[in-house]
Symmetry: C2
Subunit: 117 residues, 2 copies
Amino acid sequence: MKEFHKINLLYDFYGSLLTERQQNFIQLYYGEDLSLGEIAEQFEVTRQAVHDTIKRAEQILQNYEEKLGLVGKFSQEYKSIEKALNCLTGYQAGQKPEGLAESIQILQSILQNRQEF
Amino acid sequence: MKEFHKINLLYDFYGSLLTERQQNFIQLYYGEDLSLGEIAEQFEVTRQAVHDTIKRAEQILQNYEEKLGLVGKFSQEYKSIEKALNCLTGYQAGQKPEGLAESIQILQSILQNRQEF
């Protein structure tokens, strides 16, 4: 399940660098949860060919992430934005008086990190 | 100057997909503001070769952006985060009573967009 999520994220970022066939297979396998056999039948190729194409595509996506690291960077940032938002809604509800200052600090540090990126 | 900024941004995102030589030349030309002639001398190649390598590298960076669109997406987001931060500091200073609610809305919409990404 974790792998599933990871591949989907990588695909969201780098998917358009794959061939059309690789994109099709990844979408059907990970996006629409078809089995290898079902994809094989639909494209009139062997199950092994589907398997190999998907494995190769996953490897390409992982290679891009190893080089660029954008998924890691922006996942981290996503968590920070979520945290800032939680601080603000807590502050707004009167449950977290320090939430305002904390969220300002979080947003400043996101912008700072991006400049250094 | 605008082109300069754009290439630097593209390079920040996709630079590690260039060859080592392309990276060197782009860094020296755009990052350290060396002239084509200075780079040519340092690497013992012609000025034309430096020019061609840099043009080719720029083209590659632009092609990646055309496919992936990550610089555009995250530049847009950067502006939203800046806006949310301005709302909060205005609110904190007592100058912008609506700033709290506005910033919450901005952050929610960033997270929403990312999920749809």
